[in-house]
């Protein structure tokens, strides 16, 4: 698994498949069903939004697809891998090579500069330093952070931090980017610019995107809109 080279292969139709997935949290005596028997497929090249009110299970679904959390029942498939069957190390390799994460709270590594944050996963993959440099500088330019490479997260605005997070997520050209409320903490102009960038990557490089959001701007741009309510799929609508 580790070190295996993948490409964004259009021959694999469903990049993500959830089969009757449920996630139950125990809160004291109370059982909270965050995700309730959800089944869905995300196709390669999708630009898809999971939307719904707070507590509808959007982030939990995203976390389970990314192997950050494990379902209480059901199965999650990423490309041809059943995530439940993978070891911690294999899951780490999948996340490193095939998934890009954008978190709502940015979650950049605080002691690293913008450049180092974006470079980190490439270095994990064993990409030589010179190649890393070229790719990172290109991606930082793409996300509009040219000249800010040496700034640390605490020296950047929320929008700039989110751009670094996106740069980190896409620099490896992953099969899918899982973005949790990527526009929640940025102003409108930045949100539009980030969405433009992600749309461009989707259209030009075939990177699949799955957002969790309740931002209308994201929903407007999504080609597929899955609505969640109380952990269940309420509607699944293909658009344009």
């Amino acid at each position: 698994m580790a070190g295996e080279v993948h490409t964004n292969n259009p021959a694999i139709k469903d990049i993500v498949r959830l089969e009757s997935v449920s996630k139950v949290y125990q809160q004291g005596q109370l059982e909270v069903r965050a995700v309730d028997n959800v089944s869905l497929e995300i196709d390669t090249g999708d630009f898809c939004a999971l939307c719904g009110p707070s507590g509808s299970g959007k982030t939990t679904v995203l976390n389970m697809i990314g192997g950050l959390d494990v379902p209480s029942s059901g199965q999650v498939w990423l490309e041809n891998h059943n995530l439940a069957r993978l070891s911690r190390s294999e899951l780490a390799s999948i996340r490193r090579d095939r998934i890009g994460f954008v978190f709502q709270a940015y979650n950049l590594i605080p002691v690293m500069t913008a450049y180092e944050n974006a470079e980190f996963v490439l270095r994990l993959q064993g990409v030589p330093e010179s190649e890393c440099h070229e790719q990172v500088m290109m991606i930082l330019d793409e996300v509009g952070l040219k000249g800010m490479e040496h700034r640390r997260p605490d020296e950047m605005s929320g929008g700039q931090q989110q751009r670094v997070a996106i740069a980190r997520a896409i620099v490896t050209r992953p099969a899918i980017v899982l973005a949790d409320e990527p526009t929640a903490n940025v102003d409108s102009a930045t949100a539009d610019a980030l969405l433009d960038l992600m749309q461009k990557l989707n259209q030009e490089d075939g990177v699949s995107f799955l957002f969790s959001t309740h931002d209308q701007r994201v929903m407007d741009r999504a080609r597929r809109l899955i609505r969640l309510r109380d952990g269940r799929i309420e509607s699944d609508e293909a658009r344009r």
Binding site: A92, S93, R96, F101, N107
Partner: protein, 406 residues
């Protein structure tokens, strides 16, 4: 990915946290060096007091003398024996013993007269350094004597006072003479404190009418690395007609006490190290758990559990290496200071002895290879063990839990 470079960068960038962790470990290391040196000092001074005040390392007697210490049971030709010992890498001093009654004013007490060769005795024992009042013997003052502390109290004498010795001389006549107290010893052990009566060998011979022979030869090794048992066997073979015993056989109680005190020191060191380990563990736990979110993010973006474990371990190793160097730099002068000045316990234990071993009222540290290296090696081990739990925890925690860790 270069793990060491990444770990070094993390240590450097998390400067405040790293300083706190390194500071805690440095402080722990310094305390451990100081404590180990003080303990080493305590052990060595106990051994020194036990051996260097009186017993020496080995002794030679005529067979049977120790069971019945008779004035007439003498070693003849001691000069030859001492020369032979010197040729075998040993320093030796002859002693003469006799029993008499000492009287001063209305007080009297039975004493053990100890006739010593002034020059040679100072090479095998350090009794001359333990004068509490007055001064040690010299060749000019033939009638000067030095008494044990409790004996002086029993006789109610002070430096400069006169006392009379009455006993039986070697020829059967009465031995009596007037002496002057030249010095009073510090507490050096029960036997000497109560009955020690030091005088010049020439004065002893004159008093007791003993023209030749001696009663005891006290020996110390020039090379302390040679095993004492090995030396005993060797000397027994060289002098088959005499009884050669090392200090462990001469004073088995003291040997047991010293063995026990060695164990006590290790137990106390162990307890101290455990306390220090708690400090280091706390620092490591805080250092790792404060960053658990950061580690969760690393796990989320593809760092494997073993990679993260190795990273945390390497960071700890870098920090502990810096702490070891700093502990060495600061701990050494600290222990050195206490080696020179010691801790003055005169008010508490002056003149105290246990099982015939006097406690030195100035507790000095003793810097040895063991007292420096053992704490530093232990510090490294403690840090590496202390970080084990948080490193494993960070490595196996579910990324989503780590990211939302509070």
């Amino acid at each position: 990915m270069n793990l060491i470079a990444l770990a070094a960068r993390n240590v450097n960038r998390n400067r405040h946290r790293s300083l706190v962790t390194i500071g805690a470990m440095t402080f722990a290391g310094m305390i451990m060096i100081l404590y180990a040196s003080l303990m080493e000092g305590l052990f060595l001074s106990t051994e020194r007091n036990a051996l260097a005040m009186n017993i020496g390392e080995l002794q030679i007697h005529v067979k049977g003398y120790r069971d019945d210490p008779d004035l007439y049971t003498k070693i003849e030709g001691s000069e030859k024996i001492i020369s032979k010992l010197a040729a075998n890498g040993m320093t030796a001093s002859p002693r003469l013993f006799g029993f008499a009654l000492a009287a001063a004013g209305i007080s009297s007490a039975g004493v053990q007269l100890r006739g010593i060769n002034l020059e040679l005795e100072s090479k095998v024992t350090r009794i001359h350094e333990h004068v509490y009042k007055g001064e040690w013997l010299n060749r000019v003052d033939m009638k000067g004597v030095v008494l044990g502390r409790k004996l002086a109290r029993t006789l109610s004498v002070n430096v400069g006072d006169e006392l009379v010795i009455v006993g039986q001389a070697a020829d059967g006549s009465m031995a009596n003479d007037l002496f002057q107290v030249k010095g009073i010893l510090k507490g050096v052990g029960e036997e000497i404190d109560r009955g020690g009566f030091y005088m010049l060998d020439t004065s002893f011979r004159e008093l007791m009418g003993l023209t030749n022979g001696i009663h005891e030869i006290v020996i110390v090794r020039d090379d302390k690395t040679v095993e004492i048992e090995q030396v005993t066997d060797k000397l027994s073979a060289i002098f088959p007609h005499y009884e050669v015993l090392n200090w462990r056989k001469l004073q088995p109680l003291i040997a047991e006490i010293l063995d026990l005190s060695d164990i006590n020191i290790y137990i106390m060191l162990f307890i101290t190290y455990i306390a220090v380990a708690m400090v280091v563990l706390n620092a490591m736990l805080m250092s790792v758990f404060e960053r658990i979110r950061e580690f969760g993010v690393m796990r989320a973006i593809g760092v494997g559990p073993w990679q993260l474990f190795s990273l945390i371990y390497t960071e700890t190793l870098i920090q502990v290496c810096i702490a070891v160097v700093l502990a060495f730099i600061f701990g050494l002068p600290l222990a050195w200071y206490f080696q020179l000045n010691g801790i003055d316990l005169t008010q508490f234990i002056s003149g105290m002895s246990f099982g015939g071993i006097a406690f030195d009222p100035i507790w000095r540290a003793e810097l040895t290879q063991r007292s420096v290296m053992a704490p530093l090696v232990t510090l490294v081990l403690i840090a590496l063990v202390a970080v084990l739990y948080p490193a494993i925890k960070a490595a196996v925690i579910q990324p989503v839990k780590a990211i939302h860790y509070r």
